[in-house]
């Protein structure tokens, strides 16, 4: 057999393997509920009525469910991201004016690979390509705040409504905050040397095959799922643990709907804190379960993962302090409004 033939055969085998693993996972996913029940009540022989057994059942059902969902979504997002390099995103954004630009930037923030450690080169790359400051900020706000891991966990644990609210309000905040920053004409607060940098834009786009894209997805799974799985399991364990043991309305008096001041407090606490999206979900789960209001919890979560002190320190290299304050201020106000609004309209949407 020639080398070429061997490579091709290996490639087919890999695809076949991938497809069968996917199919097996899908079948498993749809049979998790009876499986968890069987494990809990038949194999472990726990009595059906106790709080403990229902916690075990919850854990055995939710853990594989969320892990499977997480793996699938991280894989798909990884493949999607192979289509959106920062170079391509920059090209798309450079041709648009404000508002349309803000909307595009916020959406592209979700699908473009981003890590806050490369926020500075990305910022310089965008601004020097003539992308308006406000549009650049829409991107910088949405990229960390709308996180695929958080989205999956919210969907898995609380359903599509809450996941959808998180996605849509996150986009709205990124669009509006970026637009406001653009209107304020703050270019003078960008370090002047940024505009003097000459960028080599000749970096050619490498040709990517579908094999490479699958590889991209696989690497994303290895990297992200490999990093966050302990948090996910901890989160579900917390959820299972507090199922019966903490009184239902424990948090209602301090973080419930009637305590309006809890929203600003949640944002104030959340902004300097930083945690990855997977780490914050156990807390979200515990708070929601125990009667904290959805708007308050959403505000807390967004301010923790969307804004952080380390990011401010990194951005200080290219932004003067007033602009950093305005950036954080505008986003924090956006989160605050979303939180308050939600607590107000929650009862009409079928939430507690």
């Amino acid at each position: 057999m020639t080398d070429n033939c061997k490579v091709r055969k290996q490639r087919y085998l890999k695809w076949l393997c991938g497809i069968s693993v996917g199919a097996a996972a899908a079948i498993l996913y749809w049979h998790l509920e009876p499986l968890a029940k069987w494990l809990t009540y038949s194999l472990l022989g726990l009595s059906a009525a106790s709080k403990f057994s229902s916690a075990v059942d919850f854990f055995l059902f939710e853990t594989p469910k969320v892990m499977l969902l997480l793996t699938a979504v991280v894989f798909v997002v990884g493949v999607i991201r192979s289509f959106f390099s920062p170079e391509r995103t920059r090209k798309i954004l450079a041709g648009h004016h404000e508002f349309i630009g803000n909307v595009l930037a916020a959406n592209l923030g979700i699908v473009t690979p981003f890590c806050s450690c490369s926020a500075v080169p990305l910022f310089i790359g965008f601004v020097t390509a003539g992308i308006p400051l406000g549009v650049t900020f829409s991107f910088l706000i949405s990229a960390p705040m709308i996180n695929e891991v958080a989205l999956v966990l919210l969907f898995g644990l609380f359903g599509w409504k809450i996941a959808g609210i998180y996605l849509i309000t996150g986009l709205l905040i990124a669009i509006t905050a970026g637009w406001v920053i653009g209107r304020l004409c703050l270019e003078r607060y960008v370090e002047p040397w940024v505009y003097e940098i000459k960028i080599n834009e000749t970096l050619e786009e490498t040709v990517i095959t579908w094999n490479d894209r699958m590889r991209f997805g696989y690497d994303a799974v290895k990297d992200i799922v490999g990093r966050v799985w302990p948090y996910v399991i901890a989160g579900i364990a917390v959820g299972a643990g507090i199922h019966g043991y903490v009184p239902q309305d424990f948090m209602a008096s301090i973080m419930g709907r009637c305590a309006w001041w809890s929203v600003p407090l949640a944002v104030l606490l959340g902004v300097p804190m930083y945690s990855n999206a997977a780490g914050i979900i156990p807390i979200v789960q515990a708070l929601l379960e125990k009667g904290a209001a959805l708007g308050t919890v959403l505000a807390f979560m967004m301010s923790v993962i969307g804004l952080s002190l380390p990011e401010a320190v990194i951005l200080r290299k290219v932004l003067k302090l007033p602009l950093i304050f305005i950036f954080f201020g505008v986003v924090a106000v956006g989160i605050l409004i979303v939180g308050l609004l939600f607590n107000l309209i929650m009862p009409y949407m079928g939430f507690r």
Partner: protein
């Protein structure tokens, strides 16, 4: 051969530098490894995602930690 690691010093940059060194060692190349941490210099390469890796001034990896095997393939090609 000149291998440059572009990045402002995050853990991923260090990992990429280690992998690059391992790859070049294994191939028995005579090489010089340089860490480029100055943002002006990094931007001159046209790179918007760190860490990145350049061989003799040509950018080969952007925004990810390539494995030693991947880097080996890049170093072998003329």
């Amino acid at each position: 051969m000149k291998i440059q690691i572009l990045g402002t010093g995050c853990p991923k940059c260090k990992k990429l530098a280690e992998n690059a060194e391992a790859a070049a060692r294994e191939l028995g190349l005579s090489f010089e490894l340089e860490k480029v941490t100055d943002i002006n210099q990094i931007m001159k390469f046209g790179v918007m995602m760190t860490p990145a890796l350049a061989v003799d001034g040509n950018v080969k990896v952007v925004g990810k930690v390539a494995s030693p095997d991947e880097i080996k393939a890049m170093l072998k090609k003329p």
